[in-house]
Symmetry: C2
Subunit: 345 residues, 2 copies
């Protein structure tokens, strides 16, 4: 089996995507080919043996083979013809914009490239935190109360302390905790640097947080272990940056069987059928014994490999069990019948 890894993208999380992509080399045993999407959204084939973060920051990748995305896959130019890049599936590890907002999903669906990653609807519903709330609420999965503010509507009704987040980013970029009224305007200004809309939620001090990842293969969800991530007020970008290179297995959270089952159940409810084809990580809060979805990461850092017992086998099994698109027949039945009625056929 040969897998491709697409990473980079025009994204605030471009750099952590590079880190994630490099981390995958350590945890996937089959042959990997690396497709870099640079900030201009041009594609380059990066030699697997020579991948390191400097290649991108220095611009050295510009000498690597350029790829064009067309029907069926990525093509490179040879002397007189084009050569298709062979692989069984691409792993989408572009974080944030392009990778998690639905663009890469749409490109791969349109050009019929098999891929591991969230589909179009799944991307849009998890990337936009307001839509995630609507989605979770519709499935009776609890989510914290929220307000959406925009540049024209900055009046907050939630009581402090609150957490202020750009509506559409991940990786804690532009996120602030506001404990006093005097901090609110600045926190909003920061968040509005990254998005025209901002999500506000109550900030729960010392909240218990549990992360679980998984994917569906055939009829079954393959769950990772449940981790209680290390406590921080919230991960700032530098810490999260390092976090994305994780390949060390972690320990299972010490929780009751009841809570364990409830977290799995919430994960399953959110996953099916929207996220089929993707390895996602859900971050849950537990407040007064109740499970709340905090965030759905449809392309988690380094694909959350460190949470799985058998990550390598899982990815390779998923690669050959991806959702199939429905074939749409286009038969010109109506045009032919109209032409025939007009005597033109």
């Amino acid at each position: 089996m040969k897998l491709a890894v697409i990473f980079g993208g025009e994204s605030f999380e471009h750099e952590i995507s590079i880190v994630s992509a490099i981390a995958l080399k350590k945890v996937i045993s089959c042959e990997l080919v690396y497709i870099f999407c640079d900030k201009e959204r041009e594609f380059y084939l990066i030699p697997t043996q020579e991948i390191n973060s400097k290649r991108f920051s220095s611009g050295k990748y510009l000498n690597d083979a350029k790829l064009t995305l067309k029907q069926g896959g990525f093509y490179s130019k040879k002397m007189f013809k084009e050569e298709k890049l062979e692989f069984d599936a691409v792993i989408n590890i572009i974080h944030g914009g392009d990778g998690e907002d639905g663009k890469i999903a749409a490109l791969f669906d349109f050009f019929k490239v098999p891929y591991i990653g969230p589909r179009l609807e799944a991307s849009v519903l998890s990337y936009n935190k307001f839509f995630t709330k609507l989605y979770a609420n519709s499935l009776d999965v609890k989510a914290l109360p929220y307000e959406v503010l925009s540049k024209n509507r900055r009046a907050l009704t939630l009581a402090l302390p609150v957490i202020v987040k750009p509506l559409r980013l991940g990786s804690s970029i532009g996120v602030s905790v506001v404990k006093e009224k005097s901090q609110l305007e600045y926190a909003l200004d920061v968040a509005f640097e990254f998005d025209d809309e901002v999500l506000i939620e109550p900030f729960v001090e010392n909240v218990a947080e549990y992360n679980i990842a998984g994917c569906k293969i055939g009829e079954n969800i393959r769950y990772s272990i449940i981790e209680e991530p290390q406590k921080e007020l919230f991960l700032d970008f530098d810490k999260k940056y390092l976090d994305f290179s994780r390949t060390q297995r972690v320990f299972e959270a010490k929780i009751t069987e009841k809570l364990h089952n409830e977290i799995r159940k919430s994960f399953k409810t959110l996953y099916e059928p929207l996220f089929e084809g993707a390895v996602i990580r859900c971050d849950f809060f537990v407040i007064k014994g109740e499970v709340y979805i905090n965030e759905i990461n449809p392309n988690p850092g380094s694909l959350a490999n460190y949470l799985f017992e058998e990550f390598d086998a899982l990815v390779r099994e998923l690669a050959v069990n991806l959702p199939k698109s429905r074939k749409i027949p286009v038969e010109y039945k109506y045009i032919n019948s109209i032409q025939s009625a007009k005597g033109k056929a």
Copy 2:
């Protein structure tokens, strides 16, 4: 000004998109170039003077110039180089799959092609009728009650009569009215031919229906007139097919000023800011004096030209007032700082 029109697509509504595209020639006065997306999702430049439905059903278009979508636009191959197809903006008039589900939006956003049409999130939220319900409900715009059934969950709790719709199609394809229990299974089978999920709503006999279109330019919504469409149980595909070629202006519905204002208000609430960049048509029901959203058409048939006083001027004004994407800086700040800490920089 020069506008491009993209039409076709791998879609159950491929044929009506051809009809819509041809209709636009009659109502837009500036130079038009036609980009056909065939059922294999290859792009062709169709000579504007020679466009007619037979060109597509006969396969004659395969002799037209092939186009490749890359950064910045569509390119055709000349002897030793590639030539960019020049235009100010593309009008997306692909109906249903590809055009309204978010794929074309994602492609054009990714490759930085300016376009008239729904953006990625707007497409996903209007294409999936379940998401449309969540969206409308969140904005306090009334929508009929509903149930979503899947192949594994076919038990209906809504009282008959109901209307059965594939969750993700437009143009009445696969839609049935079920008045008696004996008709339900067949109606579900028909709908499941087109989607794995089905939306069920109460069927309201002789419901008053009003259609309104519009788009936002600058700070203002430009509304079309409000039409009361001709009564049919619901439009079947043949009738709707003809409907998509409409270029004849229609008459304004005779309704009270209060209702007129309420329909406009609901339109505005649904439009802003999600649908910026698109000319959409909303189909409302009025039941016991209350306005309900029935359907949001983000690429309505022939762009609902027949509802506007000044369609030609409107489209050309919109083409130069499209939403701008936020520029994302990628500066390798973190990678550089890490390398510098390691002594590698």
